[in-house]
Symmetry: D2
Subunit: 138 residues, 4 copies
């Protein structure tokens, strides 16, 4: 586990996720980061449905990916993930995507907790904050 | 225009829609058929939003595609489309995907008009029926 | 395991695979069928790469899906899969997608083994035939 | 046209590109940026195939998106795009995604021209440089 990360989830590159350069298409990583966030919530915070059941949604407000090496069909990639910088309605996730210890990509996503109906920013609920704190001090 | 078809829409194969076989991935066609249905509704029946504004959704209940020739990145494909067999809550679309007159694929999708909330099958509204009839006798 | 099926693989519905009807988009199933085929090859026939290493590719030539019930975000779906009807360069896969025993979809895909360079149909190699025979009589 | 941009291309949000939050999924934008780059190359530099015909590929090495407002099914989005900072094998694209003048997202992608076989970074060819210079001083 890279320093500072306590959670990681694997994905296997699907054939549909490759492109005519015979590598994983760069948009596929965005989906894998989301798969890792969802798995993180499932492991640490009662799942994304726990957020939805309170009438909230987590919108993605920003995204940054640095691609360091290409990935190919059927590669197993480990997405290390951590939640950082929760403040008000906002929080960030950082990622390190590896293939057997080789660095494939680093990434960051930014999010806002919002009311599911109005999309008005809504302070991250205390139980969510506590779940993140527990997960990250693990 | 192939015999029996009165509507057609073009798509250009996106790089993200190709795969490591250097051809358009076979799941991409499913999205193109939907793009053609949506364009058909926009042209003939007030758009898909006209359906949604009545509290309805058109679910896809079946799908059949025969791939006749491969398509490549940047190919312009013409999706010929017609609506057939409206009955009760059910209707079908038939498609013929061509590239400059060359047959690339034939397809069929089956749909059910449903209540947006309950997903209960709901008879196709008269205005939709009439719009289809006008479009197909054009 | 449904009668006649000896292999099955699970997928979890990704958020990116849902659509504005709040269900799994109908094109997502096409990708899951492929994931199941790839897993089947990995389990029974040395993986898809074993095919590629012989200069072959398996093209998808046809597709049929009957959607029986909708699936939602985070649902775990079991894709039961079997290979049937290998003949010359052609073979078919049949699928039954279930959620905890509830039928979600049935499907069939048709394929042709082709030369990777020329796309000329190429008789299914004996080792592949034997692997399928072993898998299906299991 | 926003200041400093000379090229723009439209995309219409596909139903398959929405998610269960009833908005365009954040990974869809990555594909639209690519569609705009490809259209830019077609308009100004002989198309992406001109690059491929020289044994080159343009890899994506970095990506940054700031989402400012959500987009919905069937929205027509204008992707303003410009190529900046060509140096050696590297170049960047900047984007401004708008819906009828309303800012939806800003973005940047970073790329490396590479040898198609070896993926070794390869200096951007002079004709490509000249095409970019012409396009951006337009």
């Amino acid at each position: 586990m890279p320093e500072g990360f306590h959670s990681s989830y694997d994905v296997r590159v699907r054939f549909a996720e490759t492109d005519a350069q015979a590598i994983a298409h760069h948009a596929s990583y965005v989906v894998w980061l989301e798969v890792a966030r969802v798995a993180y919530w499932a492991e640490h915070a009662g799942g994304y449905r726990a957020i939805q059941e309170q009438g909230l949604e987590a919108l993605t407000t920003g995204l940054q990916i640095d691609y360091r090496a290409v990935a190919a069909f059927d590669d197993v990639l480990t997405v290390h993930v951590r939640c950082v910088g929760v403040k008000g309605a906002r929080f960030r996730y950082e990622y390190r995507v590896e293939r057997g210890g080789e660095l494939i990509a680093t990434a960051e996503t930014r999010h806002a907790m919002v009311d599911a109906e109005t999309h008005a920013p809504t302070r991250v609920p205390p139980w969510f904050l506590e779940a993140i704190a527990r997960a990250e001090r693990a």
